[in-house]
């Protein structure tokens, strides 16, 4: 059975339709890259999957693990194993990263009928995962994303993903704002989390990230539709000819209105 099945998904924000019929099937273990110019609807797709209420689904269906995803609250989606690595991770002053993550992990564990972690278990788990992300332990005691550099924020997202062990991870422009070293580390973290049970959707504007996180499938999005799908070589093709080579213009009008 597929893990995620998107059927003819339409979504709008305010009164503007952004997704105009997306269909996509993702099986466990697969990594799908979603590429496309600015304003093509990549991030909207990511947000809709996570349940952001700002975006209203007007038509279509999303089945996740046999359930109607669109009926579920954002927190239930997370508890059922959907993780969104945010393009712009949100700062939460006053709440320590450690406390936040422990609360998240324990809510998810509770939902799955697992025993909640105590402080010791949690710390051990976290130490192990921090090594993976080459993260400085002081980041744990700082407020969530507050005063973090761009790279630290992105690293923190993947670190959270490593701790929460989702079944479907959606990475929304995780590469944006990263220098090449940070990109390598983040990609290394992501690759370490690839496995036969876990699927990933990697949303990116540039092919660069896909040198490090090699996808099984690549889909090109334009004006709210998937205009082309292929294997990892499609990304390379795009790198050479650009979106224009596929006959796609930057969806500038859309960008201007976002």
């Amino acid at each position: 059975m597929s893990l995620l099945e998107i059927k003819d998904l339409h979504a709008k924000v305010a009164d503007r339709e952004i997704l105009k019929g997306i269909s996509l099937t993702i099986n466990p273990g697969e990594v799908h890259a979603i590429m496309g110019p600015n304003g093509s609807g990549k991030s909207t797709l990511a947000q809709v999957l996570a349940g952001r209420e700002l975006y209203v689904v007007t038509a279509g269906q999303v089945i996740y693990d046999g359930k109607d995803l669109l009926e579920m609250s954002p927190e239930d989606r997370a508890r059922e194993g959907i993780f969104l690595a945010f393009q712009y991770p949100v700062e939460i002053p006053g709440v320590s990263n450690m406390y936040f993550l422990k609360a998240a992990l324990n809510t998810i564990r509770k939902h799955r009928g697992l025993e909640e972690y105590d402080a010791m278990d949690f710390l051990n788990l976290v130490r192990e995962k921090m090594k993976l992300m080459e993260m400085d332990q002081t980041l744990l005691n700082r407020p969530v994303n507050t005063g973090f550099s761009g790279g630290e924020k992105k690293r923190n997202e993947i670190f959270q993903m490593a701790v929460l062990e989702p079944r479907l991870a959606v990475l929304d422009e995780t590469d944006s704002g990263l220098d090449i070293d940070a990109l390598r580390t983040v990609a290394g973290g992501v690759n370490a989390l690839r496995g036969p049970e876990r699927a990933m959707i990697v949303v990116t504007h540039y092919q660069r990230l896909l040198n490090y996180i090699v996808p099984d499938f690549v889909h090109v999005l334009s004006q709210g539709r998937i205009v082309k799908s292929g294997g990892k070589e499609l990304a390379l093709e795009l790198e050479e000819s650009g979106y224009a080579g596929l006959g796609i213009e930057d969806d500038e009008e859309a960008v201007a209105r976002v």
């Binding site: 209420e53 927190e75 939460i92 006053g94 407020p143 959270q160």
Partner: protein
């Protein structure tokens, strides 16, 4: 704590031993205020002549005063002649007859806060004859305190048993003429608490549980006086975290603290009186005068308050730093949700040398709530080397609420240091969504963010109080986001 809770529960679960009711006191005093009413109150309490005179003086002065209007609060005019100034015990005839008649929302809140079943009926004001015998519970505590020479009991009792102590300190920090509400309280106060900790004694327990049982019916005009003699220490917890069902509209309390040489008083409040409904109907008007005098050298008074209830809060727990090296602290969390209005803060008056004060104020506004911080730091000429640090932070939820800050600084000694920091932030929808995407519910997310915002204050609260206060904030903010 758990021991005392057990004691209470044991009592609560006991069958009522005296299977009859005597309704001794019908409300004999008619509505309104006059010298006769003041005399009547004093007579009912069998008070000595000097106290009656003291009340009358307050009453006569009150007549010359007008209600203050400088605070950033709005409410219909209070008719002081439409209030019953004495009813003891408070008439229970109007209350619900059983828990079945109590607003289920209120009961749900008790459940969430983990209030023991037995206490819920009392807090909800159910007209049961006696859920448990609070006098007996109180006695257990009293014996323990008495062994150390600590006097702790109701104000009326103290007037009878320790008139000299009461006379020496009553009104010495908040004089009868201090302000409109303090003068009113001085004239008509019904009861309250009195505590005296003798020289060198460290009070062995938080004076809390006692209060939770005993203070339920102290009425609209309560009076608290706490004296810590040289080298003494006491931590006093006022109020309870559960919302009190109380139909009174006006509360005007006075609290006076006196700390002598090297003495320390820690006074913590969690106020969660009825805030009115979602449309701003009903709710308590809470006009309170709280002040502590650090009279002795190296003395310290610390106020910590979590104010989540009342339709209107008008309250400025303050410190007079008279003794050299004395320390005043004010840690506050004030919440204004729905149509609540809070105008609260502190005054730190530096008089002695090298006196220091710290002010940490956290205001949370939600719904249509209006939250005002009003603080005064005064450094007199005599206060060489005085230092103050103030921090006022505001957190907004939604876009209908307001946060206001009025810090007043008056410095007359050039050797002093005064620091003030302020910030305003907003809980954004993006923060809530971020939490939810990690599996955390909206309710828990708000509570987590608010707790993070308040933690500098919460860590000043005694442990179990802090846990309850955190839960309480979560409950009070329910439905304010999303």
């Amino acid at each position: 704590m758990s021991d005392s809770t057990n004691t209470i529960e044991t009592f609560a679960n006991q069958e009522y031993k005296w299977g009859f009711v005597t309704d001794i006191e019908a409300d004999a005093i008619p509505r309104g205020l006059s010298e006769d009413v003041v005399r009547l109150i004093s007579a009912k309490k069998n008070e000595p002549e000097w106290l009656l005179e003291w009340r009358l003086k307050a009453y006569r002065h009150w007549l010359t005063l007008t209600e203050p209007t400088w605070a950033n609060i709005h409410y219909p005019k209070i008719d002081y002649n439409d209030i019953i100034y004495y009813s003891s015990p408070k008439s229970k005839k109007d209350g619900p007859k059983s828990l079945d008649e109590v607003d289920p929302e209120l009961l749900k809140t008790y459940e969430k806060l983990g209030i023991p079943l037995a206490e819920r009926a009392i807090l909800a004001g159910v007209a049961v004859d006696a859920v448990f015998d609070s006098v007996s519970v109180a006695t257990t505590f009293k014996e323990k305190l008495k062994a150390q020479g600590i006097i702790f009991g109701s104000f009326s009792e103290a007037v009878q048993e320790h008139p000299d102590l009461v006379r020496k300190y009553l009104g010495s920090v908040v004089p009868t003429s201090d302000n409109f509400f303090a003068a009113l309280n001085s004239a008509v106060f019904s009861d309250g608490s009195f505590c005296y900790v003798p020289k060198g004694v460290r009070c062995p327990m938080e004076l809390s549980t006692y209060f939770r049982i005993n203070a339920k019916d102290t009425g609209q005009f309560e009076r608290t006086l706490i004296v810590a003699d040289e080298g003494a220490y006491v931590s006093y917890l006022e109020g309870c975290t559960a919302p009190m069902r109380d139909t009174n509209q006006l509360h005007a309390a006075v609290v006076e603290l006196v700390a002598l040489d090297n003495a320390q008083i820690k006074y913590s409040t969690v106020q969660n009186w009825y805030p009115g409904d979602k449309d701003g109907k009903g709710g308590i008007y809470n006009f309170v005068t709280k002040r502590g005098a650090c009279r002795g050298v190296n003395s310290k008074i610390s106020w910590t308050q979590v104010e989540t209830g009342s339709a209107i809060t008008w309250k400025y727990p303050s410190c007079l730093l008279i003794g050299d090296n004395s320390v005043g602290e004010f840690y506050s969390v004030a919440l204004a949700n729905n149509w609540q209005q809070a105008d609260t803060g502190t005054k730190m008056i530096h008089i002695g040398k090298n006196t220091t004060s710290t002010i940490v104020s956290k205001g949370i506004s939600a719904g249509h709530g209006q939250n005002t911080y009003r603080g005064g730091v005064k450094i007199l000429k005599s206060a060489t080397g005085a230092r103050n640090y103030s921090q006022c932070d505001s957190l907004l939820l939604g876009d209908q609420c307001g946060a206001h800050t009025f810090p007043y600084l008056e410095v007359k000694n050039t050797s002093s240091q005064v620091e003030h920091e302020a910030s305003t932030s907003k809980i954004g929808e993006d923060q809530i969504f971020y939490c939810r995407q990690r599996g955390i519910s909206t309710e828990d997310a708000v509570s987590m963010i608010v707790h993070g915002f308040c933690k500098e204050v919460f860590r000043e609260l005694p442990m179990e109080f802090a846990v309850e206060a955190q839960k309480l904030l979560g409950v009070s903010l329910e439905g304010s986001v999303g």
